[in-house]
Symmetry: C2
Amino acid sequence: MNKEKLRKYFQSVISMPDDKAFALTEDFEHFLLPRNTFLIEENKNIEKTYFLEIGYIRSFTLDNDGLEVTTNIYSAPCFVNDFSSFFKKLPAKQNFQTITNCEGWAMSLTNVEKYFHNSPEFREFGRLLVLNHYDLLNKRMLDMIKNSAENRYLNLLSEHPDIFQNVPLKIIASYLGITATSLSRIRKEIICS
Amino acid sequence: MNKEKLRKYFQSVISMPDDKAFALTEDFEHFLLPRNTFLIEENKNIEKTYFLEIGYIRSFTLDNDGLEVTTNIYSAPCFVNDFSSFFKKLPAKQNFQTITNCEGWAMSLTNVEKYFHNSPEFREFGRLLVLNHYDLLNKRMLDMIKNSAENRYLNLLSEHPDIFQNVPLKIIASYLGITATSLSRIRKEIICS
DNA sequence: CATTTAACTTGCCATTTGGCAAGAAATCAC
DNA sequence: GTGATTTCTTGCCAAATGGCAAGTTAAATG
């Protein structure tokens, strides 16, 4: 397994010659994790940043009653991290856990800092990653406000049908802001209409 | 009225000598707006970025039923903008409106781009502003998950008591994710216990 | 392949939250 | 200062959502 997809990902965010892409991805190390494995744990220090090449990962935290609430579902290819905590060098505010078996590339915080210091391209990449994730979080907030749970379900189904074949409905329900029970009823309602 | 607070704000985010701070704030222009004035309108292009020196501003959008949902309350001193749209040069995704009479400094997108191009300090400042707002949005999301409406109310009351003297409760309720009716009941419950 | 475990659906009922509207209180604007 | 407007509270009722638990289906594991 080589780093071609990782390099392509870098080049899709900011254009750069192949040799630059090779240089920036040099210190990433391969990872292979079974499902239900934690990558990052709430309140613990973040050791690495992850590029997910195959698989599904979720972030979640615990609500008032100690129940898990899924805040995001990551489908490859993408970078996965608690970025605001990572760049502020603070403990993670959420848990990140594999949903399926996952495979990809990871780099230590120490190395990230090295590249951040030495490479303008890497800095720019990191900056755009933060901007993109900020934008996604904003969109998600507005989606929650503007659409009913049923519409959020239908939108996710049409935009990310693959998720429904790889992620349990109870996690999707939680991500949509409802219980598995309610999602089940919504699905029934849609089928019967 | 001079730009001292604006300069100090820059210097509080990244340290810089006074002359740099003077240079970076040179093209900001004073604004004075009565309450209920729109600074930014949803789906329209963002013309300026705002530094709020006096007053209160809110961002809001419309939900499924056309009702206004307040997504943020800004209290001076702070920068106010739909940053992710601003930096991506996309139309605003939300409305920004003064709650009280407001006063501060604004700079056009054209000038922002000029400074972004010419000044490493300004770039760094913008980057940190995005990171901070991303972090705040993240915190707000987790706050919504982890705390009951009553606790969110109590937290806001203890951390920003000034807001309760300057912002109508119906806007605060909306920001807390509940209706004015529910907030009224929560307040009653707290007083009676 | 067989066994165990996890996921999904469904009915019943309790709880929460919201909509509406009226009245009281506070604030605004002239 | 006074009338007009907005804000806030409260009661009543409807609607939405969730908790629980049982039964069913699907998937993981060895």
